[in-house]
């Protein structure tokens, strides 16, 4: 990737990737131009967005998941998110950023130029020309952190901590970095196919969702599941978590404009509208099917909507966001309701929410994307100025390719990593440790005392 002292402004992340890559990927690479002039407003918003996205993981996701498990596992569940934040913050600086956003090697991976963030100071990334590359590094770090943390919902309450730590390390290195490179870093999905993913429908949600499915199948069920009811030990924590996810997601989606202007504003509106509509959709589905709307349903619906609107946020209108949100609420509710029929134990419904919601969002982006909202679409999609609704079925094909590629890569990859990790250190906690709870057995701690 090239470091330009560019002054072009307010183009979406993805647009610049393609534009830059299609044009002259080779030229500017080595030469460090005169210190780039950054925009203080864009920088301010991206600093804020970085903080917001970290807040999504800690404490947002930690609480969302932590409230749903049983008392004896709450600390181990909080640890899943917290440890991902710690671990990946460091590996991202050491090598993760470079593999993901370093100059492209064969459309597959970044090279080692930015290891240890060498060469980053004083430059801008071509993907974010108006802010310091140092800021782009940390903004992207927060995405790299949350993605594996999302998977942790599937293996909650039964994974040994050493295996967890190793799995996350490997997943982040061998699945996340390549995939993010393919879609955003100049790899084949973004730059050659021209699929649209505004803020991480494939990279973050489908990837974590399909990996969650594979992990749940590989690990097996928790002791007592599904005969024994395992009600959430503290739903207010989950509601706080969902609320902070909602608020933090503005950094995730509106931040993906990598600038402080109308595109960010539109993504912000769409994000909020999608979350809200999906909460209403899920509540309505519940009310109809189970007789009562629930607080957990509202919270889960909002998250499902946020997932589904993620790939679309910078490409569609607010009215389209309502449709996407309502669809996400209904579809994810249904997916989660019928889970028991399939027999796997995806403890906190990562599959039903992230895999299903992410796929839905990716495909509906292919329907609703429009140049009216984002004039960079023709460049990004290699010529189409909108989705199915605007008469261009071609975009759907691109989206489908991206989705299927993500399923295959992450599904197979996660399976191989699980086998590997299990060979090194056992994944499952022994039954007595699981019964005693992971807090005591893995961490020698108890969450609540008097």
């Amino acid at each position: 990737m090239l470091d330009l002292p560019v002054s072009r402004r307010r183009a979406p992340l993805a647009s610049i990737v393609s534009a830059a890559l299609l044009a002259t990927a080779a030229t500017a690479l080595a030469e460090e131009a005169a210190a780039p002039k950054f925009d203080t407003g864009d920088t301010a918003w991206m600093l804020t967005s970085s903080a917001l996205v970290l807040m999504m993981t800690i404490p947002g996701l930690a609480l969302f998941y932590g409230g749903l498990v049983r008392t004896k596992n709450v600390l181990s569940t909080l640890m899943h998110s917290f440890f991902c934040a710690a671990l990946i913050s460091v590996t991202w600086v050491l090598y993760g950023y470079s593999l993901t956003f370093g100059p492209d090697v064969g459309g597959v991976i970044g090279n080692a130029s930015f290891f240890g963030l060498s060469g980053v100071l004083g430059t801008a990334s071509a993907l974010a020309p108006t802010i310091p590359q140092m800021l782009f590094v940390i903004y992207q770090a927060t995405f790299a952190i949350i993605t594996p943390a999302l998977i942790s919902g599937t293996f909650a309450e039964r994974l040994r901590f050493p295996a967890f730590a190793l799995y996350m390390l490997l997943w982040s290195t061998f699945i996340y970095s390549p995939l993010a490179h393919w879609v955003w870093g100049g790899g084949w999905i973004g730059a050659q196919i021209g699929a649209l993913d505004f803020a991480g429908g494939t990279v973050v949600h489908i990837s974590s969702g399909i990996s969650a499915l594979v992990t749940a199948l590989y690990l097996g069920k928790r002791v007592g599941y599904p005969e024994t009811a395992m009600p959430p030990h503290n739903l207010p924590l989950t509601v706080v978590g969902a609320s902070l996810l909602w608020v933090g997601w503005f950094g995730f989606n509106a931040g993906s404009a990598v600038s402080s202007g109308e595109l960010a504003a539109t993504a912000f509106v769409n994000t909020n509208t999608g979350a809200a509509s999906a909460a209403l959709g899920w509540l309505a589905a519940e009310w109809i099917r189970a007789g009562k709307p629930t607080m957990l349903g509202g919270a889960s619906g909002a998250v499902a909507g946020l997932v589904a609107i993620t790939p679309a946020a910078g490409f569609v209108t607010p009215l389209a966001s309502i449709v996407i949100g309502l669809a996400a609420g209904f579809v994810c509710y249904t997916a989660v309701s019928i889970k028991p029929r399939f027999g796997y134990d995806d403890a906190l419904d990562v599959v039903g929410v992230h895999m299903v919601g992410g796929t839905l969002g990716a495909l509906l982006t292919g329907v609703f994307a429009t140049k009216d909202v984002n004039s960079a679409i023709p460049t990004l999609t290699l010529g189409l100025d909108g989705g199915l609704l605007y008469g261009h079925p071609g975009l759907m094909t691109k989206q489908l390719i991206a989705v299927v590629a993500t399923y295959v890569f992450c599904g197979v990859g996660s399976y191989l990593l699980l086998v590997l990790v299990n060979a090194i250190t056992p994944l499952r906690a022994p039954i007595d440790d699981e019964r005693m709870g992971l807090d005591l057995s893995q961490h020698s701690e108890t969450a609540y005392s008097s």
Binding site: A229, G297, S337, I338, K339
Partner: protein, 112 residues
């Protein structure tokens, strides 16, 4: 001396406590328990799944009393804690051999 253990509906506690106080009963010990009985539980929802919760919250009152007071107390509780609907609870009367007041070391009826 008798020990009375009464399992009642939680919202009746205040009334029962006051009625017992009116009888001159000056001490009691309570705890939160869960009861299972003829009163059926409720269904809870969890992301599209339903599960039945059998155990309902109850309050257990423990009372150490002289024999007559015990009879009286059981009557009062039966009266006051009653709503007439399933799940009102039970009163158990158990024999007691001794009572000690820790502060003074007194034994027996003195110690109640």
């Amino acid at each position: 001396m008798k020990k009375i253990e009464a399992i009642i509906k939680p919202f009746k506690l205040d009334e029962v406590k006051e009625a017992l106080a009116k009888e001159g009963i000056q001490g009691m010990t309570i705890s939160e328990v869960k009861g299972f009985g003829r009163q059926k539980g409720h269904t809870e929802l969890y992301r599209g799944a339903e599960y039945v919760v059998d155990f309902l919250p109850k309050i257990k009152i423990e009372l150490l009393l002289q024999n007559e007071q015990a009879t009286k107390a059981a009557e009062v509780i039966t009266l006051v804690a009653r709503t007439g609907r399933i799940g009102d609870g039970k009163i158990f009367v158990l024999p007691v051999e001794d009572v000690i007041r820790i502060r003074t070391g007194e034994h027996g009826e003195q110690a109640i």
